[in-house]
Amino acid sequence: MTDPVLILLYIFVFPGFFFLFAYALFLSYLDRKIAARMQQRVGPPFWQPFADFIKMLGKEVINPDGVDVKVFDAIPLVALAAVMTAFIYVPVIGLSPVAFSGDLVVVLYLMTLPTLALFLLGWLSRNIFSAIGGIRAVTQLFIYEVPFFLALLTPAVMAGSWSISEIVVWQQHNLWLVFLQPIGFVVALIGLQAKLERTPFDIPEAETEIVAGPWTELTGRRLALMHLTSEVSLVTGSALIAALFLGGPLLPWTLSPVWLNVAAGFGLFLAKTLAVLLILSSITVATGRLRIDQLNDIGWKYIASVALVQVGIVLVINYLWVTP
């Protein structure tokens, strides 16, 4: 897998940008369909997210006066690029060729860029609603970031390496981490739900309080790119959790022909990401929005302390297990 053409192919075509674009739209369709079916509605047709994306591209772009247009255009692109590159390091068919030790930290860093982009958009568009939305986005970032990182770094501590691919390989020999660290799995799910700003935590984009939060002034292609960013970060987040906790795309036993092994691995990857998506969708449907100060209490009092307890348990297990 070191042949540069194959790597380029890997990055751009199959598990890279093209597949990610299609899979993001598919997951967004599934998310809306599950939510609709749970509310006893029919839900959108298969091509709906694709039609939304193309329509938004075709709309007129309105620049609110007094806004630096170049920066206003650049921010959605930066956010989208960050999230897409984060997906390269997550193993999709077998281990990712560009993995290096420490790519878990890079992925986590790249995942926070969209929230900062939202804050900048809100602050730049000089509209009172988007300013308040931007501030809420950043305050929410501080609340869920610590437990989310703790929950995602404990697998690295247990597996003894900071590369996602090596964690996946480690899980082949031992149990899946979801059984070893159930609390970490739950905290990671809650953190991901908050990072994607979905219903219990969609305070920045609270549709009924501040019109559309940081999204208010976005029109045309900027809106399309920001929607795509949120959908792609849904894919990246669920793939990350699938890789770290549910054993990633590798089979415990290797099948005879290589392509069958890769295909089975890819099937596992799809199954696991869809499972994570089902959990996220049911959380969205079953809960109402929290207030920012309630989120503050719950975030720091419960979720952060539970994550610390999880870290403590992992350290104890590591100490007992490693020494023979």
Binding site: R32, Q39, A51, I54, K55, G58, K59, D65, A212, T219
Partner: protein, 175 residues
């Protein structure tokens, strides 16, 4: 590539515009009976999300502006301002008898007389209030208008005589 309306990308954009019309509802002074009928369209029984119709809060994100109720004097300028905030391929649906002629409130002192006096309307819906399926039918006729306009390159060819009172002195919204 052939004319503006026939290129592959143009046909794709037209298809996308027809498949995902986003609407925003504005109650310009009516008795909010039409409002609750529009919200009833979103509900499980008349679910419009299967046509891709979403109700968006801010006019910036919407394609179709649905106006319920007649236009009171105070609403006229704000209605006009909301309409101007919408990005270009935009359409206006005036719902109910109030939208067409002021309905029961025709001729009252604190009212302008119909939505047409504030901004150009594309589709009218009869009924006081119209049933949810009639409102969905209005959105569908609006999409047919969109398909026709796409083939003629924009709305100008269909614009009938300029709206009286509006064209000769277009309101200057002080910035």
């Amino acid at each position: 590539m052939a004319g503006p309306g026939t290129g592959i990308s143009q046909r794709l954009v037209n298809w996308a515009r027809i498949k995902s019309p986003w609407i925003t509802v504005y109650n310009s002074g009516g008795c909010n009976a039409c409002d609750i009928e529009i919200i009833a369209c979103l509900m499980p029984r008349f679910d419009v999300e299967r046509f891709g119709i979403l109700v968006k809060g801010s006019p910036r994100h919407a394609d179709i502006l649905i106006i319920t109720g007649h236009v009171t004097l105070k609403q006229a300028s704000r209605l006009r301002r909301v309409w101007e905030q919408m990005p270009e391929p935009k359409y206006v649906i005036a719902v109910g008898a109030c939208g067409a002629s002021g309905g029961v409130f025709h001729g009252l002192y604190h009212m302008m007389d119909c939505v047409e006096s504030a901004l150009p309307v594309d589709v009218y819906v009869a009924g006081c209030p119209p049933r949810p399926d009639e409102i969905i039918n209005a959105v569908v006729t609006c999409l047919d208008l969109l398909r026709e306009d796409a083939s003629h390159g924009g709305k100008e060819w269909r614009q009938k005589k300029p709206v009286t009172g509006m064209a000769e002195k277009s309101p200057t919204v002080e910035s």
